[in-house]
Subunit: 150 residues, 2 copies
DNA sequence: ATAAAAAACGTAATAACGTAATAATATAGG
DNA sequence: CCTATATTATTACGTTATTACGTTTTTTAT
């Protein structure tokens, strides 16, 4: 099978999973929200909010930034999308939401390329450090900058 | 000794350390840079760049944002200040720069309050995860959101 | 079915954050 | 002193995110 076809299949998987997740949690994956999610899936990496505005706007209909931000907020709340604070961009979340794992987004400082890794080891170590700091709970998402080994 | 006096003493310690560090590395802690650093020290927490603009501007002399950003860039490069990407703010760095430790900034999701913890355990776990992700090097700074146990 | 309530969306304006370009000052080494 | 380099000032511009308010759509309860 061609890589293109594979990517298409992966795409459909993600969309279906998103759909299921929303249905199970009584969340409404409206057309706009799905379009934003799909665009992030297809891009295969982080995309800025205003890039999404451009990509999802047509000649006839220009979407407003707030429309995109609202959709992104929904997707983030649903755990489907991460915001990369260091990059001012947004990226889909891969992998099953493993409750005990820390979801680490490694961000290449130069290219902005991202790779997501889930690690229970990091989760535990961070939890321990959090207790030391007097934090009772910590976000299961982290962002770490670094350099990809090319 | 009063807590106020203690804080004042801590303040002076930090200023002195910053001064020493710059001297030892042939970095110039110019008046503006020192004022920015001092303001961050005195605030005792994260401060936004434009807040710094306001606080360091007087009636007669209004500082331009770029002035603050440059000072912040210097302080960050010197390792004296962290940028909190999730908060769009800046905060002083505590503790000796332990090369083998991950410097974790825990950020309270509600108040923005921060506590810094250094952990070699987290550093190692993250390093392992980074290798898994194909990253050859990672930043020694992390930011983790969570909730302070009050 | 109908009315009330809640959620989502459209539109416009604005706030907040950050950078570029250029010129003026200050500093350091020969 | 002279020159190269670093720092600062000022203005303008670009990007990112939110607020306000009214309308439409969907959900919930009667
Ligand atoms: Zn939300
Ligand atoms: Zn994820
Ligand atoms: Zn720098
Ligand atoms: Zn630190």
């Amino acid at each position: 099978m061609s890589t293109k076809a594979l990517r298409k299949e992966e795409e459909e998987n993600l969309l279906r999973r998103a759909d299921d997740l929303c249905r199970q949690n009584n969340l409404r994956l409206t057309p706009i929200r799905e379009r934003v999610y799909r665009e992030l899936v297809q891009s295969g990496g982080p995309v800025g909010a205003y890039d999404l505005v451009d990509r999802l706007s047509s000649e006839k209909k220009r979407l407003a930034p707030v429309t995109i931000y609202r959709a992104l907020d929904f997707l983030r709340d649903a755990g489907l999308v991460h915001r990369l604070a260091t990059q001012n961009s947004y990226v889909i979340s891969h992998g099953q939401p493993d409750v005990n794992a820390m979801k680490i987004m490694f961000v290449d400082s130069k290219t902005g390329e991202t790779i997501e890794v889930h690690s229970t080891e990091v989760a535990e170590a961070v939890k321990k450090a959090a207790e030391q700091a007097g934090f009772k709970s910590v976000s299961p998402f982290m962002e770490v900058e670094g350099e990809i080994a090319h």
